[in-house]
């Protein structure tokens, strides 16, 4: 009985897996295009909650998913004349250095407290942009 239920749920999982994947992609895509980022914030919880990936793997895999979205979005933004290289070049240098550092830290730090602090900073920034 237990085995049968398990098999059935595994079959469901395979179909659901694709459905959830497509939905996650659509949602992350429209957010990433509209807001020029934040797709990772959609993909990571979807990978961990819906697609049952481990936290660390989800974080790493999210970068591979967001990379093509950011290339395409970046090209469209640039073609719309929104890219200012006097800002873009120094920021890119900073992000590249910081990114390598963050990737090394990922496997060393527990994510809970970073996540909590991060959410508080995000809330403050969000309210500021929304209201002022």
């Amino acid at each position: 009985m237990d085995k049968k239920v398990k098999n059935k749920s595994e079959l469901m999982t395979n179909k659901k897996f694709r459905l959830y994947s497509v939905l996650a992609g659509c949602f992350a895509g429209i957010i990433n295009g509209l807001f020029g980022g934040g797709g990772g914030m959609i993909v990571v919880p979807m990978l961990t909650n819906l697609l049952r990936r481990e936290e660390n793997r989800a974080h790493a895999t999210a970068i591979l998913i967001i990379l093509p979205l950011s290339i395409v979005s970046g090209l469209f933004y640039a073609s719309f004349g929104n890219l200012d290289l006097s800002v873009g070049v120094p920021v890119t240098i900073g992000v590249t250095v910081g990114g390598a550092l963050g990737a090394l830290l990922l496997s060393k730090l527990t994510s809970k407290w970073i996540g909590v602090i991060f959410s508080v900073v995000m809330a403050a920034a969000g309210i500021k942009l929304l209201l002022f």
Binding site: G36, H59, F76, G98, G102, A103, M122, L131
Partner: protein, 122 residues
């Protein structure tokens, strides 16, 4: 001199981005609140600045065997199609409206992030 402060903003966003935490959700408000960069430009800069970092971070993650390739195209292909739609939506609205929408998005995301972090792991 201004240039150095842009590098500093990038490092802050990059550390979080490299950890897969969505560096853009920090970098974009940082640029628009403290550096008075327009919302559309902040978003464009975020998208571009992520690219070399993503490659560097990916190489490190690949070495740590943290990348999960299974079924990944089911996410990427619809993602690319919908991000084009998102870009045109962003183009269609003013900087002020986009800024407020982005702020609302961040605020919602922060609640979601806070709750899941508190619940998921002890």
């Amino acid at each position: 001199m201004e240039c150095i402060w842009y590098v500093v903003a990038g490092v802050l966003g990059g550390v979080l981005g490299g950890m897969g935490m969505g560096g853009g959700t920090i970098l974009i408000p940082l640029l628009s609140i403290f550096y008075a960069v327009s919302q559309h430009t902040a978003q464009a800069v975020n998208l571009i600045s992520f690219l070399p970092m993503a490659v560097v971070a990916l190489i490190i993650h690949l070495k740590n065997k943290l990348i999960d390739f299974k079924g990944i195209l089911w996410v990427i292909i619809p993602g690319v199609l919908f991000c084009v739609l998102g870009c045109y939506l962003a183009r269609a609205i003013s900087g002020n409206v986009l800024r407020r929408c982005f702020g609302g998005f961040l605020a919602l995301l922060s609640i979601f992030q806070f709750v899941t972090q508190i619940i998921s792991k002890k």
